[in-house]
Symmetry: C2
Subunit: 513 residues, 2 copies
């Protein structure tokens, strides 16, 4: 009840906070005349190719980010290396405030997804940023960069790889601090900056870098600036992510494909075995039937439930666009579905071929890739074990490798279960003092209500900040949701960059002792 | 009981018949000194490329077969055209016996499967026939064609496309007649010859050709010379085939692939829908659970059951080679499984990707290709309807095309079911007088017991001979079972060609009024 009333208080006071925020008015007055200059630097930054699999490109970007920090008077700007050979360094910098007892550390990443230039729209090139009057798929037109002195429109889009994901994070964080410095506003806390270079690869060495530099990275919270804002355009804070682990499950028939006439009804069909096995795992309402599957789930807190209830249900609109008649479990709302429960999702299933490529055979194997999203309380290894135990209870001999001929001849049902590296969910309490202060800060920069998400449906290895450093992460995305991140025609709407600078500056100015 | 005793009589008299068969001794005495000459002609015939999709190649082969008949004094040798444009002609010829009231017509096909020369073993080329001392995968060595006067070994293999499937049929049929002619043995019946050019394509226009030339093709039985003999090397007669029909079944989720984190537990997963649907179709013992699935099956006759019982069960040996521990339905023997019951077999199932190609998505569709083999009594359209009715009973809206957006938004479960052209099983009674005479004739050419199969497990459109011409077909294969038909390194063991000539000559000499 208490949390709910705090939430309502926040909701009622949004406009009040906004109109009273003199600091943000200064920040705005500082960045507005400088949009040409800011855009020029961002275009230069985006012109540096940063594809995740090219270490040389990433080194160039890392050094560029160090220079950006030095240019803004950020101290101790340097690369943070891992010991693992081939690991891409993170970039670090700090602004220590004399007498401050609290520290926030701001995270973004400077690496980007691979590009296929052929798939980008005519006139676009991933590393030659281009302006357009709006989204190209909704009538936007490519335009030249405007001459100094002319107006730069907030609804314009800048097209380039990483324009949104996630050089926008690096750019808005550093310019938020720069605006604070230029306007001589005085942070009450220490500010640290950490820019990762391996996020798109799955943050392979992030844990090691955090561990190795744990003293340098000491902070009271991580502010994660990555990913898109709410589809409504409202500012958003996200307090967690689901965990994730993938399984590959293969079942076996005869060692070679068999003629379905000469052997049909006699030789075992692995595709039929697999569908019968998978069918035991879920009921018609999407409930997972594997014993104990939901046992570890930590329910949402009162604040989290209240936050969820305050977000309008997007399901009816989305169902219309996606064209299906009924959600998997019609008894749950969209947000309950994606935030409160672990999943057992079939990513794909393949046995031989279908349609014109099909032959009249009995296949040799059937494979399914399962994706288990995890919520707070689930442990990824325990969750996988529940699946393995269930498969065994269905009469399967479970292996983690191909069966030998002797095993094939001994066990009527053999399943090979291989687990990819997984990680747990992470959820920062919305009731922490720092959570409340971040909510208040972001709210002070917007004339609209903001969206508070107890967790995203998606997954990032944010558990590392808690597990390695014992520090809670809070995500404050700044870019438009329709940014085509990871795909072709990635873009950012310019107004989101300017708003992002204000959002992050407000967080840097939190008074927290 | 009566049929069983006839069967036993046959079994006991095998050696007796063989030793008494003076005609076959003459045939053998005729062909044995001519193996060089026969081989030379066969190599020339096999050097003509005959891939199923090349009409010009097939026309060359058809004309070559006409010439082979003319050279053997076969009358009325000609092409039988269909009216359908692009159809490949069959080749016809006849030997009418004055006063004969009965007619046998001998079938083989001269077209072959496509070839991929790169996949053939070193030294082999699909249309440059090569001799080897034995199977190349079991130590056989390629050898030059031997000079005249030297011995040609029966265990040698001739490697070429169609060496077994099915120029061997054309070659042995025509040389069986030639041996009869050369030895001045007098057939008591009319002999007709029919060589198809579209078998590998699925006999697309066979029905039309039979219909158009029905008077010319009048006969008391068709002797089908195609496919391999029993794995034991014993001579074999097969009295039927299973029918076949394929279904493609697709179920639907959202219109675009969805991020499994951002939508998982909410958006319906078509792969999970499909596995749950398929799991309702079959139990753990391989029994099809679709209502009425087995209702139309005409059980085997007493003779057919007796024939089946006389064939040693190949299951234990095959299971060892194929490396699986348990047949789909362990209560049935191998032959019962493949001959007595219709099947519901998954040829393949595909939804999105698995393993390294998998993404963390909820797929848009899931598709299965089902192969329904049919036995005598099943009707292919009725069998498909049972499947469609069952799917509907599971709560699906069943379509034969893609759903519209409106349908997607109306029906929680949509299945698109598309049926490929199918056909029924065919089974000629082993109790017909002609069946008994063919059994007796083949038995008279072998010092071993012969294998009588009431039906093959596989499918061919043999129902056409019954349905269009009201004439029973009986299959008498002549080639070795390990001939790699349809694949690379197709071959025939030479001794099977010589034995085939004797088998077919014995049938041509049946005394049947």
């Amino acid at each position: 009840m208490k949390s709910t009333s705090i939430f309502l208080l926040f909701a009622l006071s949004a406009n009040f906070l906004y109109s009273q925020n003199k600091a943000i008015q200064s920040i705005r007055a500082d960045h507005q005349p400088r949009h040409h200059e800011l855009l020029k630097e961002y275009v230069e930054f985006l012109s540096l190719p940063n594809t995740m699999n090219d270490p040389e490109q990433l080194q160039v970007n890392a050094r560029y980010v160090v220079e950006m920090m030095k240019n803004r008077g950020i101290s101790n700007a340097r690369l943070l290396e891992a010991d693992t050979p081939g690991a891409i360094p993170a970039v670090y910098g700090e602004v220590l405030t004399p007498g401050a007892t609290k520290t926030l550390i701001f995270y973004a990443h400077y690496d980007g997804q691979p590009v296929n230039p052929d798939k980008w729209a005519a006139g676009l090139s991933p590393f030659k940023p281009q302006l357009a009057t709006g989204p190209l798929d909704k009538g936007g037109q490519l335009i030249d960069f405007p001459p100094p002195g002319t107006q730069i429109q907030s609804e314009w889009r800048l097209y380039a790889r990483a324009a949104a994901d996630d050089k926008a994070g690096v750019f808005t964080i550093l310019n938020a601090y720069d605006a604070i410095r230029r306007t001589r506003l005085a942070p009450k806390i220490n500010l640290k900056f950490f820019f990762e270079g391996e996020e798109e690869k799955g943050s392979t060495n992030l844990g090691e870098i955090l561990e190795k530099h744990r003293n340098l990275l000491k902070a009271d919270a991580w502010i994660i600036c990555d990913g898109p804002m709410h589809a409504s355009g409202k500012k958003q804070i996200t307090f967690g992510v689901r965990g994730d682990v993938n399984l590959n499950l293969t079942v076996f028939g005869a060692k070679r494909p068999l003629h379905s006439g000469n052997y049909g009804n006699w030789a075992p069909n692995p595709a039929m075995k697999l569908v019968r096995l998978l069918a035991t795992m879920k009921d018609d309402e999407g409930k997972v039937l594997i014993p104990g599957f939901y046992d570890d789930v930590i329910p949402l807190s009162a604040s989290e439930r209240a936050a969820l209830a305050a977000i309008p249900d997007p399901a009816p609109m989305m169902q219309q666009e996606l064209a299906f008649a009924q959600a998997e479990n019609p008894a749950l709302s969209f947000l309950e579905s994606i935030i409160t429960l672990p999943t057992l999702n079939i990513n794909g299933i393949v046995s031989a071929n279908v349609g014109k490529m099909a032959s009249n055979i009995i296949p040799t194997t059937a494979t399914v890739t399962l994706d288990l999203r995890l919520v707070k309380g689930n442990d990824h290894q325990r969750q996988v074990q529940k699946v393995a135990d269930h498969i065994q209870k269905q009469g399967y001999h479970v292996l983690d490798r191909e069966p030998t001929d002797e095993e094939r001849l001994t066990h009527p049902n053999i399943a090979t279960l291989r687990t990819a590296t997984g990680y747990n969910a992470q959820r920062t309490s919305m009731d922490l003092p720092i959570s409340k202060l971040v909510i208040q800060a972001v709210r002070s920069t917007s004339d609209q209500e903001i969206v508070l998400m107890p967790s995203a449906g998606g997954s990032l290895p944010l558990y590392l900040f808690e597990e390695v450093l014992n520090t809670p992460p809070i995500s404050v995305p700044v870019v438009n949701y329709d940014n085509n991140q990871h795909g072709e025609n990635e873009n950012v709407q310019l107004g989101f960059l300017w708003n992002g600078i204000e959002t992050l500056a407000a967080i840097m100015l939190i008074d927290f002792r």
